[in-house]
């Protein structure tokens, strides 16, 4: 598991969300917005393809950070800013790093980001506060 100290970069992950994942996510959170499953409608709204839900991207980012920290850590605060949409079937990278660690090492602030594989497009930025053992 990662060393809990300021500046530690947690192992990044590449995620690709296809139609099946988007359908299952839409159903599990009751988000029936057509831009997430109806290509013709998504194009009517000016999108090139079906869009990944902003909060689904956020889930991937939280999973990457907590996965890097270990199963005994829990997110107690989350913030996200969506800058650009992720399209269905388009791989994206989730990365994160510890920007502050409490003196007792039991709480930390984590900077999180999702971006294109070439790093040219940032999709979402954000921050987590995580606690151990909560």
């Amino acid at each position: 598991m990662a060393e809990i100290k300021q500046g530690t970069e947690l192992e990044s992950e590449i995620r690709t969300l296809g139609n099946l994942e988007l359908f299952l996510y839409s159903a599990s959170v009751q988000i029936p917005h057509r831009i997430h499953y109806d290509l013709d409608y998504a194009r009517e709204e000016g999108h090139r393809d079906i869009l990944v839900h902003g909060p689904f991207q956020a889930v991937c980012m939280v999973q990457q950070a907590l996965g890097g920290l270990g199963d005994d850590w829990r997110a107690t605060k989350v913030s996200f800013r969506n800058l650009s949409p992720v399209l269905v079937d388009a791989p994206f990278e989730c990365a994160s790093s510890l920007i502050e660690v409490s003196e007792d090492g039991e709480e930390a602030r984590v900077e999180i980001i999702s971006r294109s594989l070439d790093g040219q497009t940032v999709f979402t930025t954000g921050e987590l506060v995580v606690r151990r053992g909560a």
Binding site: Y25, P32, H33, L66, D71, A75, T76, V78, S79, F80
Partner: protein
């Protein structure tokens, strides 16, 4: 210049939606966990949750989106707009081209299977500004969720953007 924001929409600032309740089942949590590729056994195996002292299967942190969305999106078919979202869920702005903007949420207490949650939703602000490709409307919601033990589960500010 075109404006999307109407006087009627501004009047929604401060509007409080009806309080909703949501009974969380193990299957609600598992549906979310599997859909999102969750790997932490705490969110997949009830026995692991119980062993760690929780009262039931623990939901992943972002599961709260399912609670606060479903609480206001489970409506009859005729109440959906052409874009697939509920008609009466938003202030009357002259566009439905919406997307997520920003989220800021405190999650002091985890959600567990078996919880009965109480959800509050309020429109905190509605404003318009000019984007590069035209006017944008921002709608900022405030959500609160408490559980059956009167513990706060969520305090969230969520801003949606319409263009």
């Amino acid at each position: 210049m075109d404006e999307l924001l109407t006087k009627e929409a501004k009047e929604w600032i401060g509007y409080e939606y009806p309080i909703q309740t949501f009974e969380v089942t193990k299957h609600d949590i598992l549906k979310f966990a599997y859909a999102t590729g969750e790997r932490n056994a705490l969110h997949l195996d009830e026995a692991v949750s119980l062993k760690r002292g929780y009262r039931g299967l623990v939901a992943p942190p972002m599961f709260y989106i399912a609670v606060r969305t479903a609480a206001y999106h489970i409506v009859p078919l005729e109440e959906f707009s052409v874009d697939g979202t509920p008609k009466n869920d938003l202030p009357p702005i002259s566009t439905i081209r919406g997307m997520g903007g920003e989220i800021s949420a405190a999650l002091p207490t985890p959600i567990c299977a078996g919880d009965t949650l109480t959800i509050g939703k309020r429109v905190d602000d509605v404003w318009e500004k000019q984007g590069r490709s035209g006017p944008l409307v921002f709608v900022k919601f405030a959500f609160t969720i408490t559980n059956q033990l009167s513990e706060t589960v969520l305090n969230e500010e969520f801003t949606r953007i319409f263009r």
